[in-house]
């Protein structure tokens, strides 16, 4: 029997390196009790940045892997600045006991994402997806002295495992219907045109399998109707974990969605019945996600919960690209994810800084930053303005791509005209709720006796880089379009 592998070892070198580094850190955590644990966060972050360099400059640029690795590195830097809260919530006092794994596990999850970007069959896809989610469960529930963290961990675990069950049942039926785990256009074409034996029942089973697979992918990106976990988990999980979930884990979700959806591209033309069905399903999910995310965010007062709803809303704008499957979807999605990642990471760094020094995660805790920390307040303003889509930021450009992509679909099929008003309304809603934070910083007065925030080193550097990148890439659109 001849065994042919579709993979080469060197595809997974960055992933292996990260797992090795994580194993070393866990060993060091057990064997070297004298070393301060926050050093592990720093080493891990450097490892991620080195991996991201090789992913970007390698033979085949892996854009999604690059975004995920950079995001994981930044989460670890955030954890580096967040040590005070971590120690309080894990060991219950100032000591660092038991905090070591918190800095090693994101590396394992990142390795999962790097494997996921290489996946060309459903087994690889499923196993690397599980590496990410299983690690995320631990990270979400890691602050065991914090009621919210445990609750977030359990809610994430139950809903995440349910979505895994749905996804893997879809994988089983996919295999049963097409006889292979490969995800390619040829397999999909054969299945939709009547299946292996040419009988219509096979196509029905195939559609069920596809629906189950997409449900699993929608859970990861937080698209409606699988978005329910996002606000609760984002609010309860430790802030470094929330950052990981919001950026790296969401990137992984879009990798899955791209590899599942793109084989359907030859069919996604409004001319045929099945093409209309595919386009209409994506449009419906995108519209529902936009509405739920953006309208739900409007009445939030907790900033992490607001960013949770915001991440649902942004996923809706990315979903719009999938309505037009015959455009360069992967490129568009990676552009949008880059803009979203830069702004969201900066926002979470600000949240962590305010939480550490003012002890609150409410939007009101940002009050008066415009007076007391004018430069930091400006950097935070840039990141929220980019999330809202203010012109001259990268967020505006990518949101415009999303609108242009939708208008192009409508030129071919006017039946989708209802999506555009929804996009306009939700983009306007975005201005309302992102500017709540900006209003708190500039229009509300600090309470008596509140000192200016001390900006920690990593936070200062990351906020500056993210804000500068957002403005630079936003004003030089040709550079991004490349």
């Amino acid at each position: 029997m001849n065994i042919v592998s579709t993979y080469t070892w060197c595809q997974f070198t960055p992933a292996f390196a990260l797992v090795g580094l994580a194993a070393l850190l866990i060993l060091a955590d057990a064997l070297l009790p004298k070393v301060p644990k926050r050093a592990y966060a720093f080493i891990g972050a450097m490892g991620c940045f080195i991996a991201s360099y090789f992913l970007f400059s390698g033979e085949h640029t892996d854009v999604f892997g690059f975004i995920a690795a950079v995001a994981t590195g930044l989460c670890l830097l955030l954890a580096f600045d967040y040590t005070k809260i971590s120690c309080e919530s894990i060991a219950g006092s100032g000591n660092e006991e038991g905090t070591g794994e918190f800095y090693a596990l994101p590396l394992v999850a990142c390795a999962g994402i790097l494997c996921l970007t290489q996946a060309r069959d459903l087994i690889m896809l499923f196993v690397s997806l599980e590496v990410i989610t299983l690690t995320s469960y631990v990270l979400a529930g890691y602050f065991r002295r914090n009621q919210g963290s445990i609750e977030a961990g359990i809610k994430y675990l139950v809903l995440g495992a349910m979505s895994t069950g749905i996804l893997v049942y879809g994988v089983a039926w996919y295999f049963g219907m097409v006889g292979t785990f490969n995800m390619g256009s040829d397999v999909v074409i054969a299945a939709i045109k009547g299946g292996v034996a040419g009988s219509p029942t096979l196509a029905v089973g195939f559609l069920m399998a596809t629906a189950l697979l997409f449900a699993g992918a929608f859970f990861k990106i937080g698209a409606a109707p699988m978005h329910v976990w996002i606000p609760d988990v984002y609010q309860g999980a430790p802030t470094p974990t929330t950052t990981f979930l919001a950026v790296a884990s969401k990137t992984a979700g879009f990798v899955v969605l791209c590899s599942l959806a793109l084989p359907f591209a030859p069919f996604a033309i409004p001319g045929s019945m099945i093409g209309k069905l595919i386009i209409w399903c994506f449009a419906l999910v995108a519209a529902a996600t936009l509405l739920i995310g953006n309208l739900g965010a409007m009445r939030q007062t907790n900033i992490k919960r607001l960013l949770g709803y915001s991440s649902i809303g942004q996923a809706g704008f990315i979903m719009i690209f999938f309505v037009n499957l015959n455009s360069p979807v992967v490129y568009m999605v990676s552009q949008y994810l880059l803009a979203y990642a830069l702004a969201t990471i900066a926002a979470f760094f600000a949240v962590a800084m305010v939480r550490t020094q003012r002890g609150s995660e409410e939007i009101a805790a940002f009050r008066g930053l415009g007076k007391s920390n004018p430069r930091t307040a400006f950097l935070i303003t840039v990141s929220f303005a980019s999330l809202a889509g203010v012109p001259l930021t990268l967020g505006f450009l990518v949101k415009m791509y999303s609108f242009v992509s939708m208008i192009k679909v409508m030129e071919n099929w006017c039946g989708l005209a209802w999506v555009l008003p929804i996009m306009v309304i939700t983009a306007a809603a975005g201005f309302y709720y992102y500017f709540k934070v900006i209003r708190a910083m500039y229009w509300e007065k600090p309470q008596a006796g509140e000192k200016p925030l001390q900006v920690p080193l990593c936070t200062g550097i990351v906020l500056t880089i993210c804000a500068l990148a957002l403005i630079y890439l936003g004003t030089m659109p040709l550079l991004v379009l490349g």
Partner: protein
């Protein structure tokens, strides 16, 4: 020889019971058992399909390999889940999902 359809019906029933249990039951340990049942349903379907797709009595081993992976992942999931349940029980003295009410709109 049991036909393929019977296995698929069994796996469908397992999947439905699991999904319904996750949605209906309040005790988180029972919810966990139901989650495992959903994964088992996929295993049953995979092994049945692996036989059905095979030629000349040799099954397609890809599917059976995946079912091994699923078993391993299910075990890891339970380990993490039980750890979280223990942490929750220490904090709240209950494992009912109705007690998870700190985070809400």
């Amino acid at each position: 020889m049991i036909p393929l359809a019977h296995y698929l019906i069994l796996s469908g029933i397992l999947f439905s019971i699991g999904l319904a249990g996750v949605l209906i039951r309040k005790n988180i340990i029972v919810v966990f058992m139901c989650l495992e049942m959903m994964l088992t349903a996929a295993n049953v379907a995979l092994v049945a399909f692996s036989r059905a797709q095979g030629t000349a009595g040799v099954p397609v081993y890809d599917a059976q390999v995946l079912s091994l992976f699923i078993t391993g992942i299910a075990a890891a999931e339970v380990a993490i889940g039980l750890a979280l349940i223990v942490a929750m029980f220490r904090a709240r003295r209950t494992v009912e999902s109705t007690a998870l009410n700190t985070l809400k709109d």
